[in-house]
């Protein structure tokens, strides 16, 4: 760690860990409810649990992205953060808005639009909060002596995350139009600008961990985000198949979403190539594992499993079933959860000065959580495919087929237990690092031998 102000990232990382834990708790509540054990129904009805589960995911990932930016941008710009107090104000207000939203869900305060359940008044607070965050980041870049591609891609991603939140804040009388613009937020976030953020963090980590020349890494970063938008923008069409809009979206959505895995495949090949190319190995093996797994699992979850049900002829049957949950879980885990865990793994030893880069708990956390999530994906797949056959092919009543697929949720819960054990170990490791401190300050060249540029 080169600059004192980078320590601000720790608050955001810690909040991420806390909210991630809560997200998993609500996941279990829903898994049990699907199995028929809904004892908490009066306290936490399913619609409150699902809103909480999804929004905690969004908030903890955003918190992780913000922490990543607060850590990376000063380093890349070679200057202290523009304002630490502003960052702290932004942190506390962000946390408070998140807590209010979650409590609100439990007393039935919703906006009820999948992924955007946070009520409108809180939307404005979120928007103001993110603007404050962006001002701090952009002013830091302008203040700095260096302007790297990596920091610009990361910042541009975060700016567009904020801008794209806006179409989700308009009321439309027509439900179809509402859905149309809701996907501008959700799809263009996760299959668009979030990938800029992810690409920026990934490039930073690869530069640091492999020692490959920055120019090479940043060149391929452009190619990857280029492929992302080339396929992802019109790929939005795969959400428009069946919402009451013209048929040309079936063709456009089908073609371009079939191309979407290319961007992820390029990312996987790129990460592995850079890893092999880097002749010097960074001692932080855990960060390297998480960085590579991000690239690989994102391709499996977002790329391949997305492709598996994105063609209109298939999607007609799988749309609105647990097949979507299968894809959603591995995609979010691989692409976004893992990149946040990667940057935290990289930053913690440097912020705290506790130079434990490689330990058994960390490795166990990595393998248990990844294997657990892949097993969960398999359970969702089995449940989803069974649901499609029972309900959509044989015409069985929804509730009757739900009872038939209950055993898959038992498997899901077993897999989720494995996954949660891994995450718990990750958090234990996180806590054991302790707090960031000024003694960890160095000239930013922790591994001089590694710096090839």
């Amino acid at each position: 760690m080169k600059f004192k102000s980078q320590k601000v990232a720790y608050y955001f990382f810690a909040l991420s860990m806390l909210l991630f834990t809560l997200q998993i708790v609500y996941g279990f509540i829903m898994g049990f409810a699907h199995m028929g054990f809904d004892g908490l129904h009066d306290l936490v009805p399913f619609n409150a649990a699902t809103a909480t589960h999804k929004n905690l995911l969004v908030v903890w990932l955003l918190s992780g992205f913000m922490g990543a930016a607060y850590y990376i941008i000063p380093d890349e710009s070679d200057t202290e953060l523009f304002s630490v107090p502003l960052a702290l104000v932004q942190f506390y207000s962000f946390a408070i808005v998140g807590v209010v939203a979650v409590i609100g869900f439990h007393i039935g305060w919703f906006e009820g639009r999948k992924f955007l359940e946070i009520p409108r008044p809180l939307d404005y607070l979120v928007a103001i909060n993110v603007i404050v965050f962006l001002i701090n980041i952009v002013l830091t870049i302008f203040k700095g002596k260096k302007h790297s591609t990596t920091s610009w891609v990361l910042t541009a991603g975060l700016i567009f995350v904020a801008l794209l939140y806006l179409p989700g804040m308009v009321w439309f009388d027509n439900h179809t139009v509402d859905s149309f613009f809701r996907w501008w937020v959700v799809h263009l976030w996760v299959e668009g600008v979030w990938e800029l953020v992810m690409g920026g963090i990934l490039a930073y980590l690869l530069i640091k961990l492999t020692g490959v020349d920055r120019e090479v890494i940043e060149k391929w970063l452009y190619v990857i985000i280029g492929l992302t938008f080339l396929s992802g923008i019109l790929g939005t069409g795969h959400h428009y198949y069946f919402i009451g809009v013209p048929k040309y979206w079936l063709i456009i959505g089908g073609i371009f979403s079939a191309l979407e895995p290319l961007a992820f495949l390029a990312m996987t090949l790129f990460a592995i190539k850079m890893y092999n190319k880097g002749n010097k190995k960074h001692p932080n093996k855990l960060a390297l594992y998480w960085t590579l797994s991000t690239a690989i699992v994102a391709f499996l979850g977002a790329g391949l499993l997305g492709l598996a049900h994105t063609l209109p002829g298939v999607n007609l049957y799988t749309h609105g079933t647990l097949v979507t949950a299968m894809h959603g879980h591995l995609a979010f885990w691989g692409a976004y959860a893992s990149i946040v865990l990667a940057i935290i793994s990289y930053a913690m030893p440097l912020m705290t000065g506790r130079k434990i880069f490689d330990n058994n708990i960390g490795h166990l956390a990595f393998w248990l959580s990844n294997i657990g999530m892949i097993a969960m994906t398999a359970a969702f797949a089995a449940a989803g495919i069974a649901q499609v056959y029972l309900e959509r092919i044989t015409g069985l009543d929804f509730m009757v087929s739900q009872i038939e697929i209950q055993p898959h949720f038992f498997v899901l819960i077993l897999a989720a237990t494995l996954f949660s054990t891994g995450v718990a170990l990750y958090i234990v490791n996180f806590i054991k690092f302790g707090l960031p401190n000024d003694e960890a300050l160095t000239d930013g060249e922790e591994f001089k031998a590694l710096q090839t540029n």
Binding site: A51, Y222, P246, G320, L396
Partner: protein
């Protein structure tokens, strides 16, 4: 071999090009597509009330509509055709919460007008042209 500058051009050019196409299609969809596919002229005050209730009670947190939502409770796009208005209205305020096959719905306290609104909304959505969704089962028991 590709230079960094060319890679940057590929990114900016490609993104700009596909954004323009996307905006063009969006305008066509909103101006020509939506009125034709959704019976835009049939959105009455009741339908709007129903949609407000649909959102503010997070019905999508359990149900799907147009295939969008959660997968805990039935898909409701065609529920008006399948069950009819009286059945739908009976579920909302059912004492202890509606409970088909032991899966529980939240117990609501809707007025008659609100029930009419929700039914009107579900009826309207059922008449939308969804390009064949939900599919007709192959074997109907």
């Amino acid at each position: 071999m590709l230079s960094k500058k060319q890679a940057k051009l590929f990114f900016l050019g490609g993104t700009f090009f596909f954004l323009i196409i996307f905006f063009g299609l969006t305008i066509d969809t909103l101006v020509n597509g939506v009125p034709q596919y959704t019976n835009d002229d049939k959105i009455t005050e009741d339908v709007i009330l129903g949609r407000h209730l649909w959102d503010s009670n997070n019905c999508m947190g359990c149900h799907t509509i147009m295939g969008e939502g959660a997968y805990y409770a039935p898909e409701l796009t065609k529920v008006y055709e399948r069950r009819g208005p009286d059945y739908i209205k009976a579920t909302f305020n059912f004492p202890g919460g509606w409970r088909p096959h032991n899966r529980r719905m939240v117990e609501y306290n809707f007025t008659d007008q609100e029930k009419e609104g929700l039914v009107a909304f579900l009826q309207w959505i059922g008449e939308t042209d969804l390009n064949g969704f939900p599919p007709k089962p192959k074997y109907k028991n």
